[in-house]
């Protein structure tokens, strides 16, 4: 196994109520690269991402971050894992009782023990970078879906993670609002963030991914550079899936 990869997933199994979702999945993500997971709904993309930050406990196999932090070890402090791994969900999950700014500073202040003013300055800087600084004092119910999702991205970034996981973050959005969220991901990728992203946006995957992984039946069925996987898929199942989503 190559040790220069930032994230290593090795032989991970996971089932829910006797229904297997991951069946010995392997994945290697090099630092500063973008890996895009594609596949039908239920193919295990979301479950895989949740196993990476310890939201789901695996049944078998291992997840290792930066070659040292065993997420799947029972003795690992999962809060320490989550400080280094950012995740953004399909349904945003902003805290509705807090203003945008407070949503963002909660983690840095309570977990990283930053002082409030410093955390606010940093949050405002991030909001500005994503064109959201005018929304800082609004409650989440005043935001459009696209804005809410970008705030969720900023909230995760405020923890200064080393890797970002995106779990179908545009699936709940109006088609008109997808672009602004994808632009934010593109910007992050260009800044060198390590990214693992589950998505149904094939054009976006082709454009930003260093590696595309097609998940089928709970394993990585086929993977490769985007031009390779989209242009010349080797497996019949991959061709079949791609022909249906196009």
């Amino acid at each position: 196994m190559a040790n220069d990869s930032y994230l290593n997933v090795l032989g991970v199994w996971k089932s829910f109520d006797g229904h297997p979702v991951l069946r010995g999945i392997d994945l290697e993500v090099p630092a500063h690269s973008a890996t895009v997971l594609i596949g039908a709904s239920g193919s295990g993309k979301s479950t895989l991402l949740r196993c990476v930050n310890g939201l789901e406990a695996v049944d078998a196999g291992s997840v290792t971050i930066d070659g040292e932090l065993e997420v799947t070890d029972f003795n690992t402090d999962l809060d320490a894992v989550r400080r280094r791994v950012g995740i953004v969900f399909q349904s945003y999950n902003l805290f509705p009782h807090m203003k945008v700014l407070d949503n963002i500073t909660l983690g840095p202040v309570k977990v990283l023990k930053r002082n409030v003013r410093q955390a606010r300055d940093q949050a405002m800087e991030l909001l500005k970078r994503f064109g959201l600084d005018s929304k800082a004092q609004d409650y989440p119910d005043r935001l459009s879906g696209g804005q809410a999702q970008r705030v969720a991205i900023v909230r995760a970034l405020a923890m200064e993670p080393e890797i970002m996981l995106f779990d179908e973050i545009t699936s709940a959005l109006d088609p008109m609002l997808v672009g602004e969220v994808l632009d934010s991901v593109r910007e992050l990728r260009d800044s060198g963030m390590t990214i693992v992203m589950a998505t149904h946006e094939m054009n976006f995957a082709r454009e930003v991914a260093d590696t595309v992984c097609f998940l089928n039946n709970g394993i990585v069925w086929e993977q490769g550079a985007p031009e390779e996987l989209f242009g010349n898929p080797k497996q019949a199942e991959t061709r079949n899936f791609l022909s249906r989503v196009r």
Partner: protein, 278 residues
């Protein structure tokens, strides 16, 4: 731009005026008929004499008000303790770590017992039972034990209200908080509880109203609160007007509280609709 047909507006104004007039006329007729029927019935003068005696009312009302101050004090002391107790018990029941097993069991047992026993029974049990022990350092004051009984009984109800509120916060909120590295305690403190408490404000206010009335139960132990006072006044004059006076005092306090609870309920519902996407 907004456009409204002036003809239609005029018509709908006319209809509203007519509806209001009909409603008023109907109400006035109804009240007159009721008053005439009641006051002309054969037993009316005795009834009025027994329940709505003006002299009795004027005589007893100041003493009733004075006695009611005790109810208010019981309420003001019991309510904050109930809130804290209820919240702690609800939180204890959500603890999942194995070390907290005894705490979780005690909390569950407490709720099961005190939700199942009539409040007045708890009041008898503590109010008469504890002083009978004659233990050193254990107070024998009826007001103390009456209030304690109310706290124990209502604490169980309020704990269940809080627990329902915690359950009403979507698990994705906890997931998002834990993903930011917040501990289980921090997640409860900053994310789950603030939303849970907002969601249960209407049922909590309902329990407050109920508690205001149940302060009268302490009367069975002997302290002269408003109900006991009314009972004494009633039996010394064989006239029931003091009871009506006591009832009016309770109503004067609970009606504003009820309207406030309704208002909070409407506001919470509106906020929830608006916050649906978040």
């Amino acid at each position: 731009m907004v456009f409204k047909d002036p003809m239609r507006q005029e018509q709908s104004r006319k209809k509203a005026r007519r509806d209001a007039l009909i409603g008023m006329a109907s109400l006035i007729t109804f009240v007159i008929v009721c008053v005439v029927l009641v006051t002309n019935s054969s037993g009316w003068s005795t009834f009025q004499e027994t329940f709505f005696n003006g002299d009795q009312f004027v005589e007893s009302f100041p003493t009733l008000l004075q006695a009611f101050w005790l109810n208010v004090r019981i309420f003001l002391i019991a309510e904050p303790i109930i809130l804290i107790l209820g919240l702690l018990v609800a939180l204890a029941r959500t603890l999942r770590a194995p070390v907290f097993l005894p705490l979780r069991m005690i909390a569950t047992l407490y709720v099961d017992v005190f939700r199942g026993v009539p409040t007045i029974l708890v009041i008898f049990l503590l109010g008469f039972g504890m002083p009978a022990l004659q233990l050193q350092g254990v107070p024998s004051d009826a007001i103390f034990w009456g209030t304690a009984a109310l706290v124990l009984s209502y604490g169980a109800y309020v704990a269940e209200v809080f627990r329902a509120g915690i359950g009403s916060v979507h698990p994705s909120q906890t997931m998002a908080a834990r993903s930011l590295g917040l501990s289980s305690f921090q997640t409860n403190r900053y994310v789950v509880l603030p939303q849970a408490i907002r969601n249960v404000m209407p049922p909590l206010l309902n329990d407050f109203i109920s508690l205001q009335k149940d302060t009268a139960l302490v009367a069975v132990l002997g302290p002269i609160e408003v109900l006991r006072r009314a009972q004494i006044d009633t039996s010394s004059n064989f006239n029931y007007t003091p009871y009506v006076g006591a009832a009016l005092i309770f109503i004067a306090l609970t009606i504003p509280m009820t309207r406030f609870a309704d208002w909070v309920q409407r506001r919470t519902a509106k906020k929830r609709r608006a916050g649906g996407v978040a």
